[in-house]
């Protein structure tokens, strides 16, 4: 067989039945092999979109997402999405065609040094020099993408390697079993004594917990060691909805209860999180009285930005039970419950206009159980995190580390294909939506019943908010009041839609959207003046939040 066919066989050995991509000269042999393959290929309309769909697929399902592109511009179009997968630790395998080795290094047509470009945005990358290495390299790519802290892996395959003949028998068990995770419980006793001694313990939960498959162990840990908890953007949905000491998201746009409590705690138990600057605010002033227990799979995260008094490395599933000792902090729990009560969200917004937090709360209450919500980036993204409830982090796909506008729509395509039985909703902004709007064509082609909610403030709202607060209201290039007619735009892709402007239209509009069997676009117009609160200003400590009343 040809190298190109081998590529597809290896993908199938890894259980891949869905891939996202876009053809071109240097990857034509693989596309030719696809023509008669059982693997279903979804044609994106921009490689960035295809790779975001692979990310959405991976994040919604826990499987590896696979995307493909041709050499040169196809491959460079993948870079942003690979960077997104890198910063959010998403297992993706990207396959790129490369010009033939005979002309490599001559600035051939559509030749670019993709391996060189990949260094900063992948966990690892390969250039395949011979068809004899092809199968082993692809197996390695899958193993690396999923092992330890997951991440994107790129495999660049020259056209001559795709065309070369090879005698290949697919071995049944070529997909190596996942390497065991090295776990050290040596520090577990120290962690237990810190927990037992703490008067104000706090669990700070990141995406690493659910990625380790430790959701169950987490609930047990929180039940056996009662303590308040907060989550990062990536971990929303990690704590059971009925946990009364769960305080919500912490950080720049976190809840007041979460930020105030974290600032007061005397022991911070960081589980699969990395003290990102959007979480900590001013690092020197973050949780100043707290000792830190840091649990992670990646040793490089320990002591990277915050000193850990005790570190435990490895498999979260084993580590959480080993840290159980019980807590004795009734006063603290009561204090945190009181904070939660005192600073609960308010939805009694005056006027007729739609208040996005309330609309999203209504959406959250109306959406079927286990719906997946894919976000874009900006104010609407923070409102989703604040006002919607998720039963699992796999149901809330938001671009965290890279904060990439244009993520939502293509990620929703991937999520829908990964979980066809579940409802998939994109909540996008009027700015972000336009960044990968071409993927409406993908939705049209495959009749994917994705629900699209555009929160339209006619602004690059998040940037506008900063201009208002920190740049003397100089609104440089953030006005989008000449937006296209989004409902008409959807109609051009045979997607029905509806536009609403008043609060009293929300319920029936959501009803119509969910009742419609196919894709649907709901254009929600809001006031351009609405802002996201609370907000920790740059350089401030997390207790110095600005709230709407103060602003």
């Amino acid at each position: 067989m040809k190298g190109a066919e081998l590529v597809l066989q290896v993908l199938q050995q890894h259980g891949v039945d869905t891939i996202f991509g876009y053809p071109g000269g240097a990857i034509m042999p693989i596309y030719d092999a696809l023509y008669q393959s059982d693997i279903k290929h979804y044609l994106c309309r921009h490689e960035q979109g295809g790779a975001f769909s692979a990310i959405g697929y991976a994040r919604a399902s826990g499987k590896v997402g696979v995307c493909m592109a041709t050499s040169g511009p196809g491959a460079t179009n993948l870079i942003t999405s690979l960077a997104d997968a890198m910063l959010d630790s998403v297992a993706v395998v990207a396959i790129t065609g490369q010009v033939s080795q005979a002309v490599m290094g001559t600035d051939a047509f559509q030749e670019i040094d993709v391996l060189g470009l990949s260094l900063a945005v992948t966990k690892h990358s390969f250039m395949v020099r011979s068809v004899d290495e092809l199968a082993a390299t692809l197996h390695e790519a899958f193993a690396i993408a999923q092992s330890g802290r997951p991440g994107p892996v790129l495999v660049d395959i020259p056209k001559d390697v795709q065309l070369a003949d090879i005698d290949y028998q697919a071995e049944f068990n070529a997909a190596q079993p996942a390497a065991p995770i090295y776990t050290s419980l040596a520090n577990a006793a120290k962690a237990r004594s810190l927990i037992a001694a703490a008067q104000k313990p706090m669990a700070y939960i990141g995406g690493g917990v659910h990625m380790a498959g430790a959701m169950h162990q987490l609930q047990q840990f929180l039940a056996a060691n009662p303590m308040p908890s907060v989550t990062t953007l990536k971990a929303m949905g990690s704590v059971a909805k009925d946990n009364e000491y769960y305080l919500g998201m912490l950080g720049m746009h976190g809840t007041q209860a979460a930020n105030l409590a974290v600032q007061q705690c005397d022991l911070l138990i960081c589980l699969g999180a990395r003290f990102d600057d959007r979480v900590t605010g001013n690092l020197q002033k973050f949780a100043p009285q707290a000792k830190v227990i840091h649990v992670d799979i990646d040793p490089a995260e320990i002591n990277k930005v915050r000193f850990a008094n005790v570190a435990l490395l490895g498999d979260m599933k084993q580590i959480l039970p080993a840290m159980t000792v019980g807590t004795n902090c009734a006063d603290w729990l009561a204090q945190c419950a009181q904070l939660k009560q005192q600073y609960g969200w308010r939805y009694d917004h005056p006027g007729e206009r739609i208040y996005a937090p309330l609309m999203l709360k209504q959406l959250s209450e109306r959406m079927p159980d286990n719906s997946v919500v894919c976000c874009d980036v900006g104010q609407h993204q923070m409102w989703v995190a604040q006002h919607m409830r998720f039963s699992s982090p796999r149901n809330h796909l938001s671009s965290g580390g890279l904060g990439t506008m244009g993520f939502g729509l293509p990620a929703a395509i991937g999520a829908k294909l990964a979980r066809p039985q579940d409802t998939v909703i994109t909540v996008s902004g009027d700015g972000s939506f336009m960044m990968n709007v071409q993927e409406l064509a993908t939705i049209k082609r495959f009749r994917l019943p994705v629900k699209i909610v555009i929160v339209d403030n006619q602004r690059l709202g998040m940037v506008k908010q900063w201009q208002q607060l920190f740049f003397n209201e100089r609104y440089s290039e953030t006005d989008l009041s000449d937006n296209p007619d989004f409902v008409a735009l959807a109609a051009a892709f045979a997607i029905p839609g509806h536009c609403i402007t008043r609060k009293d239209e929300v319920e029936s509009a959501l009803e119509a959207m969910f009742t419609w069997p196919g894709p649907y676009l709901l254009h929600v117009c809001i006031d351009d003046k609405d802002n996201v609160w609370p907000l920790v200003p740059p350089g401030a400590a997390n207790e110095e939040m600005i709230t709407e009343a103060k602003a």
């Binding site: 391996l115 060189g116 260094l119 900063a120 966990k123 990358s125 250039m127 690396i144 040793p299 490089a300």
Partner: protein, 84 residues
């Protein structure tokens, strides 16, 4: 502060670029680099000298994650001697 790292790496085409990219990105300066292929040519012995004010573990823990790095040890750290 100068730090000398003794590294054994798989001899893949991009391995030195990867080392240097991580070194630069994590905020250390290159102060010396030597490499010799081992007798089987499949591995490289690399001596990487870097300077920087940050604790060296911030670099070594990132370099350890490079897939092509087999072994890495900190041979020594010393204040760079100013040449007269």
């Amino acid at each position: 502060m100068n730090h000398v790292l003794n590294i054994t790496a798989t001899n893949t085409p991009a391995v030195v670029e990867r080392l240097l990219q991580v070194t630069r990105y994590r905020g250390y300066e290159l102060a010396g680099l030597q490499l010799t292929p081992r007798s089987d040519a499949k591995s490289l012995n690399i001596t990487l000298t870097v300077s920087g004010d940050k604790p060296i573990h911030l670099l070594t823990s990132q370099l350890h994650k490079l897939y092509d790095i087999q072994q890495l040890e900190l041979a020594g750290s010393e204040l760079a001697v100013l040449s007269a």
